[in-house]
């Protein structure tokens, strides 16, 4: 006897279920299919190609009227079900009742709308159905659209509209796109590809309010005050299972409608499939598991034994030119190992995650040709021990080929600047090489590249090798560390010429072999980025050694030292009292006068740091940066104020210099001194910059040393005014910041580039001097501030996370 089967929702899950049913037992059921949308089943996931103009709606319809007629399905499209009466076993549609023997709820999900003020304005839509798609398709060149949400749906919407010439901005709250499917590296590449399509991507952007005009959306307002004008606003921030109907009918509902392994709800005659269900705590948002559910549901209806099992899922993005793949678990868990492969030339990134000799996760960008093979390995869980070394190269790997260390340089575009001093780009050099310049000397002679400061030598040599192949052998240059094949100088140059403004950009474009560097390269890269892009790059404390991260020197027993600044070595009774009080209050074991003309409080406990800083701040004392690769002290002597030999106000100049320079980050620490006369009581002749005052003005010396090496300063210039002495000092330090290798003190760097090269820029070329000073000031607009005051506000961070000794006592 035919049973009456009623299905609520003509979506992808129920569509597949009906197919299985009519195929296996055409006459078993008398089917009634309700759908809120005024149409039957179509392939919802293909709405994106429809939006992009690659397909038409007709092409994505899975079941048309003929098909329903042929299989005797009664269609009630455009008619939402408003209630289920389980006692009477009747479904109440908007236009009348239908009784059932078996009921299947397949209501899918509802797009989540962030409850922002203005979300009810006309022109604020989600991305779920054909109506939404058509609304977006009505946009064209000249229209502006903002998409909130940088996940799968939001990006497909953005790319589809961008393909129609719409000016699209994606606003995403997280630090990288598709963070649930991709790691940072792949997210970086995806962003780059989307930007190449003309889409603006705003990360870490928090939406605050939707602004309207005459009831229609006008702009999106962000937390930081930015207004993004738009004609349409698409919210694609997630979905919630559509459970209202089931809930009102009294079915067991958590986040979704509870179903067992047979897709049966808490009522034996009611089943549920699709995104509206919750199975063993899991929700669903991709079709692969829904198709499994559809099959199980059909089998259950037909009385066959069966069970739904959750499987590992994989994701792809349907945007042309954005080839990505992600599967399995690449985030949580212990005892796992990574294999990373990057090919900057092709914009390829692959990462495999291995645990117990099994592949458990994979993320790929740029080349996903082998993704199915990797996905198979994840699903089968077979041992990959035998092929571990070559696994990442995919199934076709035959042994032999290895990663090319030159690929980063080979990938550079022809116009990439290689030699900054002489403004020589890559193509000029490769043309010279092709024209017969076969070695470094010849390239230097014909193009001048690497003939000035010489720091781009490594890059020029690599170009020789890329162009000439085995005919040229690069003298072995020291890479920064095992994470990459490039020297410090090469990395610095490429960060500038390729405008790399984030750590992820450096890792990917320069072919890093590890996920996020190591303790050797990461602090260096962090410095290079902040020195070159002070406004765009945000300093990363987690890439700094403990001293700079904690703004205090760690000591052998794990306590810290606190050294407040004493400008030019000058202090007063209030400051001294504050220091004495702090020493008392925090039981500081040792108070010492340093070699840098100030007072050191040694042995302070880590958790007390924010509080001692706050106390010192109250007396006007700020961080002395005794821990930083940055400006340390400016030693001074008493000069004309008191000394009978003083020629200029050496104390005053020292204070001015310290006030201009403090807070700046430099490749290594920088120490200055100003002496009032050649007797040199401030020991200025062995400093990074040392100034000796004389009757006629100021002798500015640079590149001295008095640490592991001892070396006298070299004379940069003699200048008549204090102002010029300050200008030369600032310009010299900025040139050092822009060019030196991380952890080279100025004397080491000057030895490499030559004092003449420095003089040409700092002393002779007035335009360049002005540029250097302006660049320094720009950077200082961000860094000239007291880090102690900032950190004192976050005292929590300095405390332990929890005290389990208390728990244990209970």
């Amino acid at each position: 006897m035919t049973e009456k089967l009623v299905i609520i929702g003509a979506g992808m899950a129920s569509g597949r279920m009906i197919e299985h049913l009519v195929e296996a037992a055409p006459d078993a059921f008398d089917i009634t299919l309700f759908n809120a949308e005024p149409r039957g089943n179509y392939n919802r996931i293909m709405l994106s190609p429809v939006l992009a103009g690659d397909k038409t709606y007709r092409e994505i319809v899975t079941h048309d009227e003929d098909w329903y007629a042929q299989h005797g399905v009664t269609c009630r499209f455009g008619e939402p079900v408003v209630a289920i009466d389980r006692d009477m076993k009747v479904v109440e549609g908007a236009h009348g009742h239908v009784p059932y023997d078996k009921l299947v709820v397949a209501t899918g999900s509802i797009p989540f709308m962030i409850p922002l003020p203005g979300r009810d304005l006309e022109g604020v839509i989600a991305y779920r159905d054909l109506e939404d798609t058509q609304r977006m398709m009505s946009m064209g060149a000249g229209n502006r659209v903002v998409v909130i949400g940088g996940g799968l749906l939001g990006l497909e919407a953005a790319a589809g509209m961008a393909a129609r010439g719409v000016d699209v901005t994606v606003v995403h709250i997280m630090g990288h796109l598709m963070e649930r499917q991709l790691d940072e590296a792949a997210g970086y590449l995806l962003k780059k590809s989307l930007e190449a399509k003309g889409i603006t991507v705003k990360l870490q952007a928090n939406s605050k309010e939707i602004l309207g005009q005459d009831g229609h959306v006008r702009a999106l307002l962000l937390d930081d005050g930015t207004e993004l004008p738009c004609d349409l606003l698409v919210m694609a921030v997630g979905i919630r299972p559509n459970v209202a109907l089931a809930q009102e009918a009294g079915l067991a509902v958590g986040k979704g409608i509870h179903v067992d392994d047979q897709m049966i709800t808490s009522d034996a005659d009611v089943m549920a499939v699709g995104e509206c269900v919750e199975h063993q705590g899991a929700l669903f948002g991709l079709v692969a598991p829904l198709y499994d559910q559809a099959k199980v549901a059909a089998q259950t209806l037909l009385g066959q034994e069966t069970a739904f099992r959750q499987k590992t899922l994989s994701t792809k993005l349907k945007v042309t030119g954005c080839d990505l793949f992600s599967a399995g678990d690449f985030a949580d868990g212990e005892t796992r190992e990574d294999i990373v492969f990057r090919d900057p030339a092709r914009g390829v990134y692959k990462r495999l995650v291995i645990e117990d000799d099994r592949l458990i996760g994979a993320v790929m960008y740029g080349d996903t040709a082998d993704s199915n093979w990797f996905f198979g390995l994840i699903q089968s869980g077979e041992s990959i021990d035998e092929m571990r070394d070559t696994l990442i190269f995919g199934p076709a790997f035959q042994g032999g080929s290895s990663v090319d260390p030159l690929s980063a340089v080979a990938a550079l575009p022809p116009e990439a600047e290689i030699c900054g001093c002489n403004g020589i780009c890559k193509s000029t050099i490769t043309e010279a090489i092709e024209g017969g310049a076969g070695d470094l000397a010849a390239v230097r002679a014909t193009t001048k590249a690497s003939a000035s400061c010489g720091t781009c030598t490594g890059l020029v040599e690599q170009l020789l090798q890329v162009t000439l192949g085995d005919a040229f052998r690069v003298p072995a240059a020291q890479p920064i560390c095992g994470c990459c094949d490039l020297t410090h100088e090469d990395v610095r140059r490429l960060i500038k010429s390729q405008a790399l403004k984030s750590q992820e950009a450096v890792w990917q474009e320069l072919g890093w072999k590890t996920r996020n560097g190591c303790h050797v390269c990461r602090p260096a890269v962090n410095f290079y980025l902040l020195a070159d892009w002070p406004l765009e790059y945000q300093d990363d404390p987690q890439s700094r050694f403990v001293n700079e991260r904690k703004h205090a020197n760690i000591q052998k027993d794990g306590t810290f030292s606190v050294v407040p600044r004493m400008w030019g070595g000058i202090t007063n009774p209030t400051e001294l009292r504050a220091i004495a009080d702090a020493a008392d209050k925090y039981n500081v074991p040792t108070v010492k006068v340093t070699g840098g003309q100030r007072i050191d409080l040694l042995g302070v406990k880590g958790e007390d740091l924010p509080y001692i800083w706050a106390d010192l701040n109250k007396a006007g004392l700020v961080s002395g940066h005794a821990y930083s690769k940055g400006l340390r002290t400016v030693k001074t002597c008493v000069g004309t104020d008191h000394c009978r030999f003083g020629t200029q106000d050496s104390t005053g100049l020292g204070i001015k210099l310290e006030q201009v320079l403090w807070g700046s980050w430099t490749p290594h620490k920088v120490k200055l001194a100003v002496s009032g006369c050649p007797r040199n009581c401030a020991e200025a002749t062995c400093k990074d910059v040392g100034i000796i005052c004389v009757d006629s003005g100021y002798q500015v010396g640079v590149a001295g040393a008095a640490g592991m090496d001892v070396k006298q300063t070299e004379r940069l210039a003699d200048v008549p005014t204090e102002e010029e002495a300050i200008d030369l000092t600032v310009a010299f330090i900025q040139l050092y910041r822009e060019n030196a290798k991380y952890l080279d003190r100025p004397y080491k760097w000057v030895a490499k580039v030559g004092l003449d090269w420095v003089k040409a820029r700092v002393v002779d070329d007035l335009e360049e001097r002005a540029r250097l000073i302006a660049a320094f000031e720009l950077s200082q607009s961000i860094y000239r501030k007291d880090p102690w005051a900032e950190h004192a506000k976050e005292a929590d961070r300095y405390q332990t996370l929890a005290d389990l000794t208390l728990e244990a006592a209970e």
Binding site: R515, H519, Q542, K556, D557, L801, A802, T805
Partner: protein, 109 residues
Amino acid sequence: MSWIDLGPVTDIPVRGARTLKTALGCVAVFRTAEDEVFALTDRCPHKGGPLSEGIVHGQSVTCPLHNWVFDLNTGVAKGEDATVETFAVRVEAGRVLIDASRLAGRSAA
């Protein structure tokens, strides 16, 4: 196992660590760039450096005092014949959970 909730994972800086006081000394809880968490004794076997203050890279941490590098999974120091103890921790629904029975178990031993 007895899991204790240490609070939201966001309380630990990404590529950083926070410490726990236990009856048996400090334990460092690390969070990597990929939001994995690990827990190790916060004391370097070399000269007692606080590992929680080290630079976290990949699934390793470098001791802040003399740069020994430890695998966060196993506690083994790279190239050294030394290991620090590790403890079971996991993230569930954004919260960090640590297995306290082991911490207690160690005290009994």
